[in-house]
């Protein structure tokens, strides 16, 4: 009989263990930063969506003279005046090489443009979600060859799986500035808000504030 108890005790000792758990999260975007998960999520607005749109307008402006000379473009479908600086000139991005294919750029004159977009905007390497936005941008100082400071006013929305969606907007213009020897906008001033919905119910309201380095954003939720 004793040997059965020995076997039972050995069995208990063998199985009575469990392991703990760590949560590791990988975030993405143009810049390198270490933020809370909520702030990292909102960076898809500040550090992906806006900068993709600004990259496109800078590329379009750099190609402006060449496209006017050629009278056509394989990247843009142009209607109205060909000069992108001229009010009413409308350039629609048609190249799949762009992150914002389908975005329409309409010149407002005076170095201001309006972007409208509705499509599957990439999120990470594997996902793309239905996204719409309207963005008003104003060109600022030239910082390096073909790169400018900008101010951005944004509103938009995105739908995700499991009935989640969000509405996002800038609270007033957000300044995108280049500080130091870099090609990216690394110095931001302004605020973005994001309202999160599950189905029809609003479940959260978040705020992402910038007053300098993009890596030092302040994130507040549950407003």
């Amino acid at each position: 009989m004793k040997k059965y108890f020995v076997i039972l005790a050995a069995a208990v000792a063998a199985v009575a263990c469990s392991k703990g758990e760590d949560y590791d999260v990988t975030v993405g975007g143009r810049n390198t930063y270490s933020l809370s998960e909520g702030a990292s999520y909102m960076m898809f607005i500040a550090d992906n969506l806006v900068t993709d749109a600004l990259d496109e307008i800078e590329l379009a402006l750099n190609l402006n003279d060449a496209i006017m000379a050629a009278g056509q473009s394989t990247r843009y479908l142009i209607t109205g005046p060909q000069d992108l600086e001229e009010a009413g000139s409308t350039w629609k991005v048609i190249s799949n090489a762009s992150n914002v294919v389908g975005m329409e750029i309409v010149s407002q004159g005076n170095a201001q443009w309006k972007f409208t977009y509705a499509g599957e905007y990439a999120f990470g390497l594997a996902n793309a979600y239905p996204t719409t936005f309207v963005m008003l941008v104003e060109r600022g100082d030239l910082k390096s060859e073909g790169h400018y400071n900008w101010t951005v006013t944004l509103s938009g929305s995105r739908e995700e799986k499991n009935s989640y969606r969000c509405q996002f907007e800038s609270l007033g213009p957000v300044a995108y500035q280049i500080e130091g020897q870099t090609l990216g906008w690394n110095y931001l001033v302004g605020k973005y808000s994001m309202k999160v919905f599950k189905g029809e119910e609003a479940i959260d309201l978040c705020l992402l504030s910038f007053n300098g380095s993009i890596s030092k954003a302040q994130f507040v939720r549950g407003l």
Binding site: Y4, E21, Y23, G28, G38, Y41, G124
Partner: protein
């Protein structure tokens, strides 16, 4: 649980003293982790998304399981009865957006009618197989029904030792136990 274990040991000792032998048998086992919740967690998004941030993730781990079964011999090779299992689960839910983690512990019970089949074998080392189907009573998750279907197949098990008190070891497949069990039994 300690009391139950003590009563069963006393019962086995009494039966052994009486040298009883008959068509009834009771077996007490300790088993591996629970078959369904041994080490289970909800899958997470591969990249930050709203589901990832706002849907609570859960992880459940089970401790070793305790099993008691009873059989009545219909003939020399076929027995019928039922098994009763108990496992303690522990785990936590975690919500990424808030960083909040909530721990919990739950008990899980099974009741499964069962058939046991023995095959002719040398004396003292007796192979068998079992099949069982019944219910799991579970209150781990707030959503869903606490009672659901459970099943188990023992493709191979062995008894060894005497005809009255003996040792048992068996492999298990199904939703109850992951791996196998060891135990003691008695026949009366």
């Amino acid at each position: 649980m300690k009391k139950l274990f003590t009563v069963l040991i006393l019962l086995l000792a009494g039966l052994y003293a009486l040298q009883a032998q008959g068509r009834h048998e009771i077996n007490l086992y300790i088993g591996g982790f629970n078959g369904e919740y041994a080490d289970m967690e909800t899958s997470e998004e591969q990249y930050l998304g709203l589901s990832y941030l706002y849907e609570p993730q859960y992880r459940v781990t089970s401790g070793p399981s305790l099993t008691l079964d009873y059989h009545f011999a219909l003939n020399k090779f076929v027995k019928v009865g039922a098994q009763f299992d108990y496992a303690k689960l522990s785990g936590h839910t975690y919500t990424h957006i808030s960083g909040q983690q909530k721990d919990f512990e739950q008990n899980l019970f099974y009741i499964l009618p069962q058939a046991k089949i023995r095959v002719p074998s040398p004396k003292g080392f007796r192979p068998y197989g079992k099949i069982a189907a019944g219910v799991q009573i579970n209150s781990v998750y707030s959503e869903g029904h606490p009672v659901k279907f459970a099943w188990e197949v023992v493709p191979i098990g062995f008894e060894w030792g005497g005809q009255v008190v003996y040792g048992v070891a068996e492999c298990c497949l199904g939703s109850v136990i992951l791996g196998g069990r060891l135990g003691i039994g008695c026949r009366f």
